[in-house]
Amino acid sequence: GGGTPGCPSCRMPTLEPGTERRFLLELAKRQILEKLHLSERPNITQPVPRVAIANALHRLHVGKARQEGQPGPFDRWDGPNADELGYEIISFAKTEFSSPSSTGLRFRFSRGPGRDVHILQAQLWLYVRAPRSGLSPVTLRVSLAGALLSERQLEARAGGWQTFTLLPVLQAFFRGQEKTLRLELECRGCQANATAGSDAGGSHQPFLVAKATVREPGQRVAKR
């Protein structure tokens, strides 16, 4: 209000410097929350160790997916349809010890009401510390609610990052209403704590990476 009138139909008064800063900072905050469909800014109550984040981002840009010539997640991609928002997400596991050879991996996801989430890619990344001794092969088994999802035998003394594709699991999960996905990881022939990142401060925390498109409630259906 006041000052020289701006454009009458868009009522944009000329901004004094102090007003300009306050107005634009508030506008930026409102725009970002509105377009991310957030009612308020997220409060980070359980921060992930920065070293685990750096490791995960490094793996995703340099990791096996790139060497196999596939565009890895978190790479530039042709993006979603005009009326869908494209998301890529890394979810770090909260680990729960079930027994010396098996660990629970818990992933939490936010679910906006009425949002239509389509999962396009989903991979579980696990770091296995190589056994110090012994020549017996190591077997990794990933299960969900007792149902075996994937099994892999590693050569003796093998270790490092392993990836498991979990597309059907995550698609089914996002069709449901659950917020927590709990996987069971079993490591036969491993030494105790072989999935190195199991402790909270681990730099090699297991993580799930997914690519999705989201259609907001009331958004027109994309013509195929």
Partner: protein, 114 residues
């Protein structure tokens, strides 16, 4: 599109950088550190009304002047964004997951008269 400077009060793009530290959001927005929000300001006199804000050719300017002299009263032209770019953002959601997405129409690139 014209960038605002002291010499002209015609419709133009005013650059403004928002640093996420200034709003205390750098703890949950990992990348970028901020972005050019920019905004449009300035007058839209009749002879440039509804021009796209690009430097018009002399032919277009003459046409506009002719139109201006025949312009009917009423109808005010406004200086508004005519082109905006998306903002690629990497942030923590409330479950401490890392999310990457492109937020559409966040950066005002060009202004023009409606």
């Amino acid at each position: 599109s014209l960038r605002c400077d002291q010499t002209s009060n015609l419709c133009c793009r005013k650059d403004y950088y928002v640093d996420f530290r200034d709003i205390g959001w750098n703890d949950w927005i990992i990348k970028p550190e901020g972005y050019q929000i920019n905004y449009c300001m300035g007058q839209c006199p009749p002879h440039v009304a509804s021009s796209p804000g690009m430097a018009s050719s002399s032919h277009t300017a003459v046409l506009n002047l002719i139109r201006a002299h025949n312009v009917q009263a009423g109808g005010q032209s406004c200086c508004v964004p005519t082109h905006r770019r998306p903002l690629s953002i990497l942030y923590f959601d409330r479950n401490s997951n890392i999310v990457k997405t492109d937020i559409p129409d966040m950066i005002v690139d060009a202004c023009g008269c409606s």
